[in-house]
């Protein structure tokens, strides 16, 4: 591999790795958002159950 080939490969590789790193960061963020949504769904479910119980008691 000549010096030119090495430098050209390095330049293109840097951009490829940067895009991959960005995808990895977004994937990590997506996983965190998924956990947040699950937590909120659980919170909403518990709240709905509490309200249902309260309605039963009042009836």
């Amino acid at each position: 591999m000549s010096a030119s080939e090495k430098y050209v490969a390095a330049a293109y590789l840097v951009v490829f790795v940067a895009v991959l790193a960005w995808v990895a960061i977004i994937a990590a963020k997506l996983a965190r958002l998924e956990r947040d949504v699950e937590e909120l769904a659980e919170l909403a479910r518990r709240r709905a159950e509490r309200e249902a119980e309260r309605e039963e008691v009042s009836v």
């Binding site: 430098y7 330049a11 840097v14 940067a18 895009v19 977004i26 958002l33 949504v37």
Partner: protein
């Protein structure tokens, strides 16, 4: 009807970016001829220059959104300005890295402090990098949005200065490809350059939209959490 970035469905934009990147790589390595002067190392031009122009476009877009925030108080313009500047900084960093690699093979140096174009681009990059220090050192709210918008608008002045620096300098070694007489390259090289730039703009657009969607989702979830906790 005007074509707006937000009206293009995200999967379509992402698919377009992938197709354009593939087309650009094919044109660069299999269609564009080898440069008579620089040989294979000139292939970095098709990556380095479009990345730099994309960085300028992102900073310009961020400044335009900042202006909209200050002028019309457009809802979400502050967040859009932030996301655009973030993309600009990513592409700015890539400009500096790919430029350094090209400089090493062409000039024998990773960096030359005497080159106005390089130093001005570095100043522009550092200026917008400092934007995040400002943003995260102030409490979220209208005051932060206004400060960040004013800062983003100040930075945009550096773009034409950086672009024109090479044309104002007499002792440059940084090549000038686009002159008053048009692009100084063959038609096939110019086609590869244009497709490469289009692919990077599409990639930046996709990254901007994904980041913006993530930030908005985050804000909605925070609001929902506060409502459920109440």
């Amino acid at each position: 009807m005007a074509l707006r970035l937000r009206n293009i469905p995200l999967p379509l934009l992402a698919s377009g970016a992938v197709a354009l990147v593939a087309a650009a790589l094919a044109l660069i390595f299999f269609y564009a001829p080898l440069d008579a002067d620089q040989g294979l190392s000139q292939k970095i031009f098709y990556l380095h220059v479009p990345i730099a122009l994309t960085a300028y476009a992102c900073f310009g877009w961020g400044a335009a959104k900042a202006f909209l925030h200050l002028w019309k108080r457009s809802p979400g313009a502050d967040l859009e300005s932030y996301a655009a500047i973030h993309q600009g900084v990513i592409f700015g960093a890539l400009t500096l890295i790919t430029g350094s690699i090209w400089a090493k093979i062409s000039w024998g140096h990773w960096w030359l402090w005497g080159e106005r174009q390089l130093v001005l681009f570095l100043v522009l990059f550092l200026f917008y990098s400092a934007y995040f220090m400002l943003r995260y050192s102030v409490e979220p709210g209208p005051a932060r949005a206004n400060m960040c918008a004013v800062y983003a608008l100040f930075g945009v002045v550096l773009i034409p200065v950086s672009w024109l620096a090479i044309r104002l300098a007499n002792d440059f070694i940084h090549p000038v490809v686009f002159t008053r007489h048009g692009p100084q390259m063959s038609a096939s090289m110019f086609l590869a350059f244009c497709v490469s730039w289009a692919s990077l703009l599409a990639l930046a657009g996709t990254m901007y939209r994904v980041e913006l969607a993530g930030k908005r989702l985050d804000a909605h979830l925070r609001e929902l959490r506060e409502l459920l906790a109440a």
